[in-house]
């Protein structure tokens, strides 16, 4: 009986893209839990909407492109993109924000470039940035941590609001929303206040003559709630490194460079530059460092390249946050470095065995 004679190796590791994506999704659980704890059920509703949209769009385009639908739907990449976008949106965003963002990410940023593995830009960040530029009002209407809010919504009320824009009697949307700590800091620094003033007045000093806000949105090191979110993502990210799903290079380089540059400016002028810890544990830094910048498709490939890539993201994040027009900048920094990834790969190759260094 003649046998098939495929080439070696004849043994393969028990790994697959699906497995990698599932691990990443699992690692998001601590962060998502913190999210729900501090900001209510909105994020869960958003994730559901995003998942349905992403899988529908992916299937549709695969069909149009005459590609096998099932292997690509089950690889988990579209689902992961959906979850990541949902995590970047304000928890009470109307449903169409999520749908537009996810559809744009999957159809334009991923499938039109050739689908899995061929997209030069991180689809989740493309989707997020598109929304941020197109719908600035919706995208900046964040809510304060539930513990600080005048009123909060339960799961059903949240879903009703997101889907139908209806609120329970006596609750106004304005009463629910609040700028993010990064946003408040940026606004008030621009008004001429010092970091300490902003933090103190926003956080504690309600008797002060220059009360800026009565809601203490600043926590111990970052924004209230936000620091726990960052902690959750940090925990999941460390687990991913431990499991060797991602390498340490990009997160360490990104966090390290952000830490370094924010420390430098904080030491020079603590009155006008926020503390390094505030930068690390506010906004999307932890999520970005472990879950977004590490997207292999769009990142640099070699280890030295990854370090350059991570440093670039860290520095751009700080530069845009501090001197740019947006309060947070992880998405922009990631997209900027996505552009540089091929160049970095070209210049940072490892030295091949047996070749003189």
């Amino acid at each position: 009986m003649p046998f098939n004679t495929p080439t070696s190796p004849h043994q393969l590791a028990p790994t697959s893209i699906t497995r990698v994506m599932m691990m990443v999704m699992l690692a998001l659980i601590p962060g998502i839990t913190a999210y729900v704890w501090f900001f209510g059920w909105g994020v869960v509703v958003n994730i559901c909407i995003a998942l349905v949209t992403a899988l529908t769009c992916e299937a549709l385009i695969l069909k149009l492109r005459q590609r096998p639908v099932l292997p690509f739907l089950s690889d988990g990449s579209a689902a992961l993109t959906a979850i990541l976008i949902a995590l970047t949106l304000p928890p009470l965003s109307p449903w169409w924000i999520t749908v537009i963002g996810v559809a744009f990410a999957i159809i334009i940023a991923k499938q039109l470039y050739g689908g899995l593995g061929y997209n030069p830009f991180n689809p989740a960040m493309v989707g997020y940035v598109m929304l941020l530029i197109s719908f600035p009002r919706e995208m900046t209407s964040w809510i304060p941590p539930t513990a600080l809010a005048d009123s909060s919504l339960d799961f059903l009320e949240t879903a009703m609001f997101i889907l139908f824009h209806t609120l329970p009697d006596g609750v106004t949307f304005d009463a629910l929303t609040e700028a993010t700590p990064l946003d408040s800091l940026k606004t008030h620094l621009a008004l001429g206040n010092t970091v300490d003033e902003v933090r103190a007045q926003l956080g504690l000093d309600e008797q002060s003559s220059r009360v800026l806000s009565v809601i203490p949105i600043f926590g111990a090191i970052g924004g209230k709630g936000w620091e726990w979110l960052g902690g959750g993502f940090l925990l999941g990210g460390l687990w991913l490194i431990y499991k060797k799903v991602i390498s340490w290079h990009i997160p360490v380089a990104m966090i390290g460079s952000l830490l370094a540059i924010s420390s430098l400016f904080y030491l020079i002028d603590p009155a006008h530059y926020a503390t390094p810890m505030f930068h690390l544990f506010s906004g999307a830094v932890m999520l970005g460092a472990f879950f977004i910048a590490t997207d292999p498709v769009t990142a640099a490939a070699s280890n030295r390249g990854k370090i350059i890539y991570g440093c670039g993201i860290g520095i751009f994040t700080y530069v845009i946050r501090t001197w740019g027009g947006y309060p947070d900048a992880v998405a922009f920094a990631v997209l900027l470095l996505n552009m540089c990834a091929p160049l970095i790969d070209h210049y940072f190759k490892s030295s091949v065995f047996g070749h003189k260094k």
């Binding site: 046998f3 080439t7 043994q11 899995l116 065995f353 047996g354």
Partner: protein, 578 residues
């Protein structure tokens, strides 16, 4: 220092993987002799280098250990009859080779008497000149038994100036499933140690290290016991990691030095031999017995009784499978060698040859087939595990796009095809297959370049010849005219006919000589011209083999010994790759 104690510093190599070992199955029982089959099929090409030349005819009766084919050239090895019997055919038979092709083989019908030819052990090898030892080893047909099959005597030649610092005995056996070296080390450490003494004598190596992976504690114990108290012999227990048994990787682990790309271990004063080869050398020198059998691991889930067998070369694999209770319909894939670098066979009738270390009869369940190939997600897992520090991803893109020069820029030819990248790829991309394809395409391309160069050269020579003949004809015509004119002038002194004839002959001779000289000069000029053109238009050579026979050496009278060295180096290099 004595063996076994004081762990020496070990070095590290980049990357590597930890695949499931699957070695336990075939080490549950001790090794046994394979049954004598009715017919033995002996391919004349069981090693790296030129195929052997048969020296028997159909119908000849041969004895066990009798030489039946001579080594053909420097890099080649003879073949011996593994048992007594009758030569019944010398023809093309299928051989175990990735190509699946047939090649010239000698078929012996065994007579069951297993009668030895007269053989003569070497009395005291320490009294014997190393060059004579090498000759015995060559005539015994000993080749590297680790899987590559490079003639061993060449690797026992330190060369005139090279000083061998370290002799490494490779007992790493890093590929999953294979346990033949493991069993040999457990069961017959004395032969290995005796062989090592001979190797050290031949190479005059300063120190000797036996490297064994720590997944073989019994082999380690056994070797330690046998090597106790031997000066200058060290046993290194190295942490298990594939592909540590690759020569360049092992040299790095033991000495910390990198074998240069395109170079050989001997270039940095290191020689590496397999432990089984040491045992074969012991048998060749101490017993006078040529290489006619080897230990083969028969394993895989389709094998009910996996174990190691001492197998005569030429034994059809199906005989071994029968002896180990294989369920034939369970076999999904039949692999010769390990699962990482071995190749799949299309048929069970193929014979065992000198490089057959393992036969895996794998079931469908075992292989975990039918995983869809997905696009590359650039995760970089391949680069992390590459022992040569290549960028497998970039090589893949360029190989796939047939950008062969780009693939070469990323050092495609440094790839040792160990399969680590394919193993870890979450997208199941058959990366190694792409690299083999690209290498093949480049080789073909260079062959074509070479061919077209030769054609051009031939064409230029032809033009030159036509031109020359035309000139000669004209010269002749002119000459004919001149004597006639001379004859017309009646000034010639009166000489007798014989003298006259002699003079004319002399004249003609000298003219012809000068013509020959002129022609020679012309040819040399043409050769130089072609040479210059060739050098400027030479394709980028990829390995020593290509360098060794550029037409430059074919046309200019370079020393032949140089060339010989080159070709041996080239083949040696091939072994590294395989």
């Amino acid at each position: 220092m004595s063996s076994g104690n004081a762990p020496e510093k070990l070095w590290d190599f980049h990357g590597g993987i930890h695949p499931e070992q699957n070695k336990l199955q075939s080490t549950m029982e001790s090794s046994a002799q394979a049954r004598l089959p009715a017919k033995l099929f002996l391919p004349l090409h069981q090693h790296i280098g030129a195929a052997a030349e048969p020296i028997v005819a159909i119908g000849d009766l041969v004895l066990k250990g009798q030489k039946i084919a001579n080594a053909d050239g420097y890099v080649s090895a003879p073949v011996h009859a593994p048992t007594s019997g009758k030569v019944i055919d010398i023809a093309e038979y299928p051989i175990p080779h990735p190509s699946g092709l047939s090649a010239l083989s000698i078929v012996i019908e065994t007579d069951g008497r297993d009668e030895w030819v007269e053989y003569k052990p070497e009395q005291d090898y320490t009294e014997t000149n190393p060059s004579h030892l090498r000759n015995i080893i060559r005539e015994s047909g000993v080749v590297g038994l680790g899987g590559a099959g490079f003639p061993s005597y060449i690797k026992l030649n330190p060369g005139s100036e090279k000083k061998i610092k370290t002799l490494i005995l490779n007992g790493v056996e890093c590929e999953p499933y294979i346990t033949c070296d493991d069993m040999l080390m457990r069961e017959d450490p004395q032969s290995i140690i005796a062989g090592i003494h001979i190797m050290r004598h031949a190479l005059q190596a300063e120190e000797c290290v036996i490297a064994i992976e720590d997944n073989k504690p019994q082999a380690y114990e056994s070797i330690c016991k046998a090597a106790a108290g031997i000066a200058g012999l060290r046993i290194a227990l190295v942490p298990t990691r594939y592909p540590q048994g690759g020569e360049k990787q092992l040299v790095q682990v033991i000495t910390g030095k990198e074998v240069p790309s395109n170079g050989l271990a001997i270039n940095i004063g290191v020689v590496c031999h397999n432990v089984s080869t040491a045992a074969a050398i012991y048998r060749a020198i101490h017993l006078g017995q040529p290489l006619i059998s080897r230990m083969v691991t028969i394993t895989g889930e389709a094998v009910k009784r996996p174990r190691n067998l001492e197998v005569l070369f030429g034994t059809p694999i199906e005989e071994l499978l029968q002896q180990c209770d294989v369920e034939p319909d369970q076999i999904e894939r039949l692999v010769m060698g390990g699962p990482m670098m071995g190749f799949a066979l299309h048929d069970t009738s193929l014979p065992v040859i000198k490089t057959t270390n393992c036969i895996i009869a794998a079931t469908r369940k075992e292989l975990g087939l039918d995983r869809p190939v997905m696009p590359c997600i650039r995760c970089g897992a391949c680069a992390d595990v590459c022992p040569v520090k290549l960028l497998p991803q970039q090589l893949y893109w360029h190989s796939r796009a047939k950008e062969l020069d780009k693939a070469q820029e990323y050092d495609l030819f440094d790839c040792i095809e160990c399969g680590c990248c394919s193993y870890v790829c979450p997208s199941n991309i058959p990366l190694v297959q792409f690299y083999r394809f690209a290498k093949g395409a480049i080789w073909t391309q260079e062959q074509e370049h070479k061919k077209s160069d030769q054609a051009r050269e031939r064409h230029e020579f032809r033009l030159l010849r036509i031109e020359r003949e035309k000139q000669e004809r004209e010269a002749k015509r002119a000459k004919k005219k001149v004597p006639r004119a001379k004859a017309a002038a009646p000034k010639a002194p009166p000489v007798d006919g014989a003298r006259m004839g002699e003079k004319m002959r002399d004249e003609a001779m000298s003219q012809r000589d000068s013509a020959v000289d002129a022609r020679k000069a012309e040819i040399q000029a043409a050769v130089a011209r072609v040479q210059a053109k060739k050098n400027s238009a030479a394709p980028k050579t990829t390995d020593a083999a290509a360098k060794a026979d550029t037409p430059a050496e074919a046309t200019t009278p370079k020393s032949t010994s140089d060339k010989k060295d080159d070709s041996s180096a080239a083949s040696d290099n091939n072994e590294q790759v395989q």
